[in-house]
């Protein structure tokens, strides 16, 4: 049977690794290519690059980063950040990305999901959703709202209905990123992750809030996530990829333990 996946997310700004807390206060923390290689050799199951570069000219740099990583990291590589067209997706694929994450541009123009699915295959299109908790309303009954532009612009769209719509349009996977939990190290938002995982038949990746190994355990069991995404936990050396996997395996979660 399938193992649960441990995914490391590298936020890249102008070619450097950055990490944000609640989507603001980003700072440089190193060379993304070296980090990617280190995690790969330590048993990482999948790697996500998120390009948080603001300028369009800076966007070329991510292609170089992806290409350099793809030369030496032989696990699935997923890239997102600013993907707004099939051409963007194709450029990243040619640079070596397996999967393409779409986010804000897909909220503004949902057909982007279908277009990318047609061009590169359903299984390679990942719908990444930034979500914040709100008071449930008639318009957004799930109590969760989609936010775009790096967490700055609430869209008045219910997260549950957007997840279902994304699946219908051809997304092969969902990333559920809780803005409320992001960078807090207090744990994933389990209720949100479970709600979306139960609502779709595509894999769900939990993101935002991991601070200790049992947070991963909780979201992979109670939260019903197929994969757990980590960033600061491993970037600052508090935990290692292999250490996290050993912990999860030790608690009975099926993980890939030989590499």
């Amino acid at each position: 049977m399938l193992s649960k996946r441990l995914i490391a997310c590298l936020d890249v700004r102008d070619g450097h690794l950055a990490k944000s807390v609640k989507f603001v206060d980003t700072k440089d923390i190193g060379d993304p290519v070296a980090k990617a290689r280190e995690y790969y050799l330590d048993g990482l199951d999948e790697l996500v690059f998120y390009d948080i570069t603001a300028s369009s000219e800076g966007r070329r740099i991510i292609l170089d980063v992806v290409e350099a990583v793809a030369e030496q990291v032989f696990i699935p590589l997923s890239v997102g950040g600013g993907v707004a067209s099939v051409a963007d997706a194709t450029d990243l694929r040619l640079a070596g990305a397996e999967k393409i994450n779409v986010n804000s541009a897909a909220v503004r123009r949902p057909a982007l999901i279908a277009e990318c699915a047609e061009a590169i295959g359903d299984q390679n299109v990942v719908l990444s959703m930034d979500i914040r908790r709100i008071e449930p309303s008639a318009h957004m009954p799930s109590g969760y709202e989609i936010v775009i532009n790096g967490g700055r612009k609430p869209m008045g769209i219910d997260a549950l209905s957007w997840a279902r719509e994304g699946e219908r349009l051809g997304a092969g996977e969902l990333v559920v990123n809780s803005i409320d939990a992001d960078g807090t190290r207090e744990g994933y938002e389990l209720g949100l992750t479970r709600m979306l995982s139960e609502a779709v038949r595509i894999p769900v990746i939990a993101s935002g809030g991991a601070g200790e190994p049992d947070h991963l355990y909780d979201v992979l069991t109670d939260g019903k996530a197929d994969a757990a995404l980590v960033a600061s936990m491993v970037h600052y050396g508090d935990y290692t990829v292999s250490g996290l996997k050993r912990h999860l395996h030790g608690r009975g979660v099926k993980m890939r333990m030989s590499w």
Binding site: L2, G43, G121
Partner: protein, 237 residues
């Protein structure tokens, strides 16, 4: 020099990079002449069976692959490459190359918690020793992305199995042809080791697995496939 067959079926650069990593020089080509003359052939692919077969037929690569197979060139199929080497795929109701007898069907799972496509890391259990699978140990996992599964007609062609609800064929081999449903180029170091062994393989297997075994233990598993396979044969005749 190996040829990586290009037929508009996905991104081949990851396969090329992985070959380079294990010291196998490889070129990406859709030229039937180069495929016929290749020392070894890698036949990858991601996408749908229908458009893949149309593309192969349009370029003449379909015949070149059959010729390379008959000329004993070592061939490695990967994912869709494996699937369209059988005779028929339920995906787009497509007649496929037919290097080996068998068909491809969509996963139909009873457990509502199991998702299709089968995507992620799963264990691969070698059930018939093969030079290219040599060294795979119990618990070694490989990366899969597929919604359809291969069902070779002869159980002797199944060289490895994985489990997703039930067991399914995750690698097959006959004579100079070997193929994996998983992606060795995305499977970390165990995947690279598999490519390395393919790079060294002379295309022979110690015991010829091409001999169909009658009364085999998995016959019931393949019963349902026979009618479809014969239907596809009639149709293509």
């Amino acid at each position: 020099m190996a040829v990586i067959v290009d037929y508009d079926a996905g991104n081949l650069k990851s396969v090329e990079r992985a070959c380079r990593e294990v010291g196998l020089s490889a070129e990406i080509s859709s030229d039937p002449k180069r495929i016929r003359k290749a020392e070894r052939v890698i036949f990858p692919g991601v996408g749908a069976a229908g458009s893949a077969m149309r593309s192969l037929a349009a370029s003449g690569v379909d015949r070149a692959l059959v010729d390379a197979f008959e000329a004993s060139t070592p061939i490695l199929g990967i994912c869709l490459g494996l699937q369209i080497s059988l005779e028929y795929s339920e995906e787009n109701d497509t007649d496929t190359l037919g290097l080996l007898p068998g068909e491809v069907r969509r996963f139909r799972l009873d457990d509502p918690e199991l998702k299709v496509p089968h995507m992620g890391w799963n264990a691969v259990r070698v059930i018939r020793p093969h030079p290219v699978l040599d060294g795979i140990e119990q618990g070694d996992e490989f990366y899969f992305v597929h919604a359809y599964r291969p069902i070779p007609e002869n159980s002797a062609d199944v060289i490895a199995e994985s489990v997703y609800e039930g067991p399914f064929c995750s690698a097959l081999g006959r004579a100079n042809y070997v193929a994996t449903q998983f992606h060795p180029e995305k499977s970390g170091r165990v995947g690279l080791r598999l490519l390395e062994r393919f790079a060294e393989w002379d295309g022979r297997v110690a015991v010829d697995p091409a001999q169909p075994s009658d009364g085999d233990d998995t016959a019931s598993q393949f019963d349902s496939s026979r009618s479809v396979v014969s239907r596809s044969r009639q149709r293509s005749a």
